[in-house]
Amino acid sequence: QIRQEAAMHNARQLIEKINEHCFERCIPKPGTSISRGEESCFSSCMEKYMSSWNAISRQYVQRIQKEQAAQEAGGFGGI
């Protein structure tokens, strides 16, 4: 259950961040409805944010694994 809550928390944070960045960029002046253009910008922005999140996860996990391996090998590496 703790794991499930952590996953929920994670998803909620991702949604918040997406809305923060993409609302800022794609809907600078909120009008009486979301226009087609705003919607398509928002949609791309959202996908791009998730692509970024994935790219960064991969790179970050890879990097900390490399640093841990270097540390265990007795060196100090990674700097």
């Binding site: 949604i15 809305n19 923060e20 993409c22 609302f23 909120p30 009008g31």
Partner: protein
Amino acid sequence: QELQQFIKNETQKSNIQQSIHSLTDMCFRKCITAKPSSGKLDKYEEPCMQNCVDRFMDANNLILKQLEAMRTA
């Protein structure tokens, strides 16, 4: 069980207040661009605030719809 309900309600209330805080933070930035000279919202600021909330919620729904579409794809 009553306690659980109490905690659930309080958590929900606190989530709502959290959302109101961050919406106010964001919409104040978007809608109040002039140096403040009065405490009231003027006739441009008031509807801007309302649109800001409604468009933010629309955007939130877009995210949820798209996430749902991705999960079932």
